[in-house]
């Protein structure tokens, strides 16, 4: 089973080689991968159908308690088989559809990776693994949607899809982590066994919101549905795959999967039904507004997703059964229809239904595929679509008035979809023949296999209700509801049942919709034009707004003025100095207390000797001289004063080495400054506007005072002199040096000095690097 | 020749500053001095033999005396309340009779350190030394004082 999820990735990695070897037949070659997986899954399906599960687990990140666990129950298997089955046909189809395209190899690799992600998603037992595959579908679909990368619309569609689904992905990640945090397990199979651990927790609402956020974005629920039509910029095989059985169904899968853990509550039902219902109607109406075949199908996909979410929300046995059957039906017919649309586009050169007609003669096989799919979509008996509809009506009939309202919504939605199905089947194929950009003729076998086979499956399944019940419904419901459902799908018409009449009503309305399609389209288009904006345009507004906002913020923060960068640092310094001192009573030592005595006792003149005062005064005067210096060179000279003063302070307080070095360095600084200044001619004065002066001055004084106060606070304690005592005691006897400072430098802390001389050497290299290109740049400069 | 002499001087200087006149230390001092001179080998020209110790000593004695007088002189001037009127600054061209670099340098430096005079510049043709005088009563006296004092003694030393 792990093989099922991982084989496509391996195949994708090998695709460049396979493609270069197999050339135009690479589609056929690579289609064997999903076909093999399909057969593999069928082979292991026995115990699942019997109501059990199969599992496989590998150690992955044991240090984090993560295993790469796969498990398959009915739900997973239905999805996985659909993915692999449809996937086989799509790969085949792609091989033909992109014949001769320079990036066909890349495309097939992306498709296989996507399929692998999808299979991994539905087979994963570990929630984190599920999330990873979830994200992988987003990323691979991004590459697929943007496949025609020269087109801005394709790029936009790809980014849009990725952004929206990534927001959902982040919700899922946090949701998964939260669920793990609350339940203690990463494994879905274990989580299900824990019963109400999440439902009963105070944070249930948050967990639910996160999972719904994930599912709704992925499954394009209103109002986050807008990315899906834009994803039609992708090549048609992508649309056929992503929007029938795979990517968008990931959200549905997640909701179904979480039903035992999160479902069944009032808020669950309410939210899912409401959003699903609105999405159903919205998508169906949207389909009627469009004339582009793919856009129409995209909108119906939104509607179908709404329908599935609604059914999961209802959560009853019949609703779940309907959901399962509808999923299979939808996968078959929607993939088929997309492939038909692609074939039409490929052969006739347009997808606009108003520009197409009479293709049944030219593309008869394609028409058969289209008809099979559309009829399933309409829900005629003998197709699997019929059972889906029956089941969903069954779920609602006989409920309270709220349920009846939902039923009405369903009927209307189904009717609209039926109308659309008729349009899609009849307009291009049976309508009056119209000239098309290309002279249409039948598509190649690889492109026909899909629609015909899928249509056939739809019919076959429609003819085998018992098989459907036993092999699809039972294990699926077992997985979601935890118990098997009685097989009750029947082909026989029971006129006493209200269901048949509801179906009839649906068809009738569908025909009306088909008849009035033109008028409805006009009305809808006027309506949307009247509103003027929609979620899609809002997306642009948000994105561009974000970009403008980002630019504003960035320009404001990174304005390029060093002075303000420094100002920020010093403001932070002031806060860092004062905030802890004020918050933690660091200034208490100033305030006189009973024990410490009064101020008069503290105001003693420090015991400095006259010449010491002189040197301190010299330092202050030197600093003032720098401050008031008119030109830079005078400032440099004044710099020498404070340096000398500092050296003398060191000297007077027992630090001859320091004084020595300080003097030498200070003089040398003045020398180097002078040498450099000798080659520069600069403006003499330091112009600083008053407000800057006041601001800079205040900040400087505050920081200086803060440093002084913090230092004084430190000085209130006694110093632990362990280190110096050690050095003093051992310098001569052990380290053989009388100058303790030097011994520290070359022995006790010689490692520091090693770094220090490296800094000196580095300064040499750096300065040479600076000066080195002087000639070249100045010669080539303007 | 003069290089070897300088090495000996530097070695003795080394022994002096390190306070250790042992043979080994003198040897080491010679090495250090030799290293320093190695770097300077292109810059030291033949300086002429510094022969006569007596003349040198008399020059040194004259110099030290003049230096002391000079310092006191300046100190007294500085302390005068009527500072402005006591001064008569001037820049005077003093003709040079010494010609070698070493002689000119020695002369100029000594002039700077002695009363009331300061060497400002040497003319490009080395004929004249421009001297700043603090209180110039008479230019001939000034020039003569220099010619008969330091300049003559320096010539004697360098011959």
């Amino acid at each position: 089973m792990a093989l099922a999820a991982l084989a496509p990735f391996l195949a994708a990695l090998l695709t460049p080689f396979i493609h270069s070897l197999a050339g135009r037949y690479s589609g056929w070659v690579l289609a064997t991968v999903p076909a093999g997986i399909f057969l593999l899954l069928l082979g292991v399906s026995e115990p699942v159908i019997a109501g059990g599960t199969i599992a496989a687990s590998f150690g992955w990140v044991p240090s984090y308690g993560l295993t790469l666990s796969f498990f398959a129950d009915g739900l997973s298997l239905i999805f996985a088989l659909t993915i692999a089955g449809v996937g086989t046909l799509i790969i085949l189809y792609s091989g033909a559809y992109l014949k001769g395209h320079r990036h066909k190899g890349r495309f097939l690799a992306y498709m296989l990776s996507f399929m692998g992600s999808m299979l991994g998603l539905v087979l994963a037992d570990n929630m984190l693994a599920l999330f990873m595959f979830w994200e992988a579908t987003s990323v691979t679909s991004f590459l697929l949607i943007g496949f025609y990368h020269n087109r801005q619309a394709a790029r936009r569609g790809a980014i849009q899809a990725l952004v929206i689904t990534n927001i959902g992905g982040m919700c899922l990640l946090v949701g998964v982590i939260l669920a793990q945090h609350l339940s203690g397990t990463w494994l879905l199979s274990e989580l299900r066994g824990l019963g109400g651990v999440l439902k009963d927790h105070a944070l249930y609402g948050l967990v639910l919101a996160l999972f719904l956020g994930a599912a709704f974005t992925k499954s394009a629920q209103f109002p986050l549905h807008f990315w899906l039509p834009n994803a039609m910029e992708a090549p048609t095989p992508v649309s056929a795959f992503l929007h029938s059985a795979t990517m968008v169904q990931a959200g549905v899968y997640l909701l179904a999967r979480m039903t035992p853990v999160l479902g069944g509550t009032a808020v669950w039902t309410g939210v899912l039904v409401a959003f699903g219902g609105v999405t159903l109607i919205w998508g169906a109406l949207g389909a009627l507004r469009e004339t582009d075949l793919k856009q129409i199908l995209a909108q119906t996909t939104i509607a179908s997703l709404g329908l599935l979410v609604l059914l999961i929300g209802l959560g009853s046995e019949a609703a779940i059964a309907a959901m399962l059957v509808y999923f299979v039906a939808h996968a078959c017919y929607k993939a088929g229809l997309f492939m038909v649309a692609g074939a039409v586009d490929h052969e006739a050169g347009t997808r606009d239904i108003t520009a197409l007609g009479g293709l049944a003669d030219k593309m008869p096989v394609t028409f058969i595929g289209a008809a099979l799919a559309a009829l399933s979509m309409v829900g005629l008996p003998l197709t699997v679509g019929y059972f889906a509809k029956e089941e969903m009506y069954l779920a609602l009939v006989g409920g309270d008035w709220l349920m009846l309202f939902v039923l009405a919504v369903l009927v209307v939605g189904n009717a609209l979809l039926a109308g659309v199905a008729l349009i899609v089947m009849i307009r291009p194929f049976l309508g009056d023949a119209l000239p098309t950009p290309k002279n249409a003729h039948e598509a190649p076998v690889a492109m026909l296999a899909g629609p015909i086979l899928l249509g056939g499956v739809g019919v076959v399944a429609g003819l085998l209700p018992d098989w459907l019940s036993a092999d699809v419904l039972a294990p699926g419901a077992m997985a979601i509801l935890g118990h098997a459902v009685e097989p009750h799908l029947k082909l026989a018409l029971d006129l006493a049942s209200p269901l048949i009449w509801l179906s009839a009503l649906t068809w009738l309305l569908g025909i009306v919709v088909f008849r009035q399609a033109q008028a409805i389209r006009t009305v809808l288009r006027r309506l949307s034009a009247g509103i003027g904006w929609n979620a899609d345009t809002a997306f642009d507004a948000v994105m561009f707004g974000l970009i403008r906002f980002a630019a504003t913020v960035t320009r404001a923060l990174h304005h390029g003025k060093l002075e303000f960068y420094l100002l920020a640092v010093f403001a932070a310094l002031a806060v860092a100095l004062f905030w802890p001192m004020l918050a933690l009573g660091g200034l208490d030592w100033i305030v006189p207390t009973a024990e410490l005595g009064d101020w008069s006792k503290r105001l003693v003149l420090p015991d400095l000797r006259p010449y010491e005062w002189g040197v301190v005064l010299l330092a202050v005067l030197g600093l003032l001289a720098v401050l008031i210096a008119q030109s830079r060179l005078i400032a440099i000279l004044s710099l020498g004063i404070q340096g000398t003063a500092l050296a003398l302070i060191f000297l007077l307080f027992g630090a001859p080495d320091l004084a020595f070095t300080q003097l030498m360095v200070e003089v040398l600084s003045v020398v180097i400054l002078t040498i450099v200044m000798t080659n520069l001619r600069l403006d003499a004065r330091d112009h600083r506007p008053f407000e800057d002066w006041a601001r800079d001055g205040t900040l400087a004084v505050v920081c200086g005072a803060g440093v002084s106060l913090l230092l004084m606070l430190v000085l209130t304690g006694t110093l632990d002199t362990r280190l110096s005592d050690f050095f003093t005691a051992t310098s001569v006897p052990i380290a053989h040096g009388a100058n303790i400072v030097n011994v520290i430098l070359v022995d006790y802390r010689g490692f520091d000095t090693l770094g220090e001389i490296s800094v000196v050497m580095g300064a040499g290299i750096a300065i040479l690097a600076l000066l080195r290109r002087r000639k070249k740049t100045e010669e080539t400069g303007p | 020749m003069s290089g070897a002499f300088l090495v000996v001087i530097l070695a003795l200087g080394w022994a002096g500053i390190t306070g250790n006149f042992s043979g080994l230390n003198l040897l080491f001092g010679g090495l250090v001095g030799g290293g320093a001179l190695l770097i300077l080998r292109y810059s030291i020209r033949q300086q002429g033999a510094l022969g006569r110790a007596g003349k040198v000593l008399s020059l040194i004695a004259l110099f030290l005396y003049e230096l002391m007088v000079s310092a006191i002189n300046v100190a007294l001037i500085v302390l005068r309340p009527d500072l402005k009127s006591a001064l008569k600054p001037a820049i005077v061209a003093v003709p040079l009779t010494v010609k070698s670099d070493a002689e000119i340098t020695l002369l100029a430096n000594m002039i700077t350190l002695t009363p009331g005079t300061l060497s400002v510049d040497v003319a490009e043709d080395r004929s004249v030394l421009y001297v700043h005088a603090l209180t110039m009563e008479s230019d001939t006296a000034l020039i003569a004082g220099i010619a008969n004092g330091f300049e003559a003694r320096i010539k004697e030393v360098f011959q």
């Binding site: 960035t554 490296s758 750096a766 | -």
Partner: protein
Amino acid sequence: MTQLPQAMIETATSAADWVLVLPVVLALMGSAALLVVRRSNRLPLLGAVLVIVAIIACEISLLLRIVSEGPLSMTMGKWLPPFGISLTADLFGAGFALAAAVVTLVVVLYAEIDREGNDGKDGFHSMVLLLLAGVTGSFLTGDLFNLYVWFEVMLIASFGLIVSGSSPLQLDGAVKYGFLNFLATTLFLLALGLTYGLLGTLNMADIMLVAPDANRAAMTGIAALLLLAFGMKAAAFPVNAWLPASYHTPTPAVSALFAGLLTKVGAYALLRALVAVLPDSREMLEPVLAVLAVATLVIAPLGAIAETHLRRAVGFFVIGGIGAILAGLSLPDVIGIAGAGIYIFHAILAMTALYMVVGLIEVRTGASDTRQMGGLYAASAPLSILFFLLILAVAGVPPFLGFWPKLLLLEAGVADAELGWVGSALVVALVINAILTLIAGTRLWSHVFWRNGPEGQPASGEPMPLVAPTPRVRLAFGAVSALVLGVVLIGLWPNPLIEVGQRAAADIVDPGRYVEAVGLAEVEP
């Protein structure tokens, strides 16, 4: 004769212990040796590669040793700690040092792109080794003042590298980089002086022991100063302006080296100083840390969205990553610290690789602004793959390396969310950061790779012409590919990394083993 106190370590030091100090010393002496031979043509490159390989070998054996035996310490000059300078390596320090050496090796090979017709006279390889010495020293030292010295070694080497070439653009960037970074180390020194005045010691393990008894206000003030100084080095908001002002100005190889190493050392210093050494002060500063983390996480990717200069944009990714690390420091349980640490590891590899790929993009398109770029997707599949993988890794998309630390951080945040606002705020900020980063990344991808040519060029027609790769470019490409492959493989098989990360974090949160390794037994109060 008075009795001498015991001054030196009695036991002999085995030569095997030298793997702790050799990486630093080899880098330093290698740098010096290359300087001596800098007028030779090929020796600098060859020498640099040999030295770095030797360093990597030492660091691998060091890491293995620490994995099996716990933190390792050596006090220079045989003096008893805390009197001598102790080099003390735990898993984080050794791991980061190894990652740093590996990316440096890759960058040295990559840098051959820019060195067409360049002899060794500019001292490039010397400076690279000096930078590596500073970085390695910072990661391995157990002494606060010694850390300052290595910071400065790193800083001066980065000065030399950032101006190498001395174009006016570089000089402008270097002025801002230079002043702000030197100011940061000066503030560090200020904090150090106060630390000594308060505690009387500089050895980190020793500080751990005596800090709890110190004046709380002063200790917290010092910690705040350290936070400011290291925050500047790490480029945390709001003192990060130097990074976008300068990282795009040197050659891409230098940008790459900086991105991988410099800010990470700042972040590591924060981790070491605040979480391990001064945990009490960190607790006081936790709200500040959290606010800084949130602001950095949210604001940095905006810059990446707004910027059209490709390397500047990438610089904002670097800053965003620092936000993630700060988030880990605000959530100091083992999981959060492990997240921060693994993020540092990830960033060392991924950010370096990203800059190098960007450099290749600049070479191929001959432009540095995304407005003038396009057509790379059709032209170069390998380059596309590298860039795409790295964007995903940086955005934290699974299963690439960047995902794992974010996962740990989110888990720590979720766990902390029940205790207060910090956890929830950080979770939200991390999520926003991931989304914004992905938006920025896909925009860059779309403009540079997918779009057919520069802005305004029609979509149809041939993609824009590209500069053909030279052999040096191919060498560079190979080097980067190897690094990216590493990022991908570690992402796919993160178990060793996460295991080591968690153990390392455990040692940070409970530094008993660290203190013991230094040789300062925990003293019972």
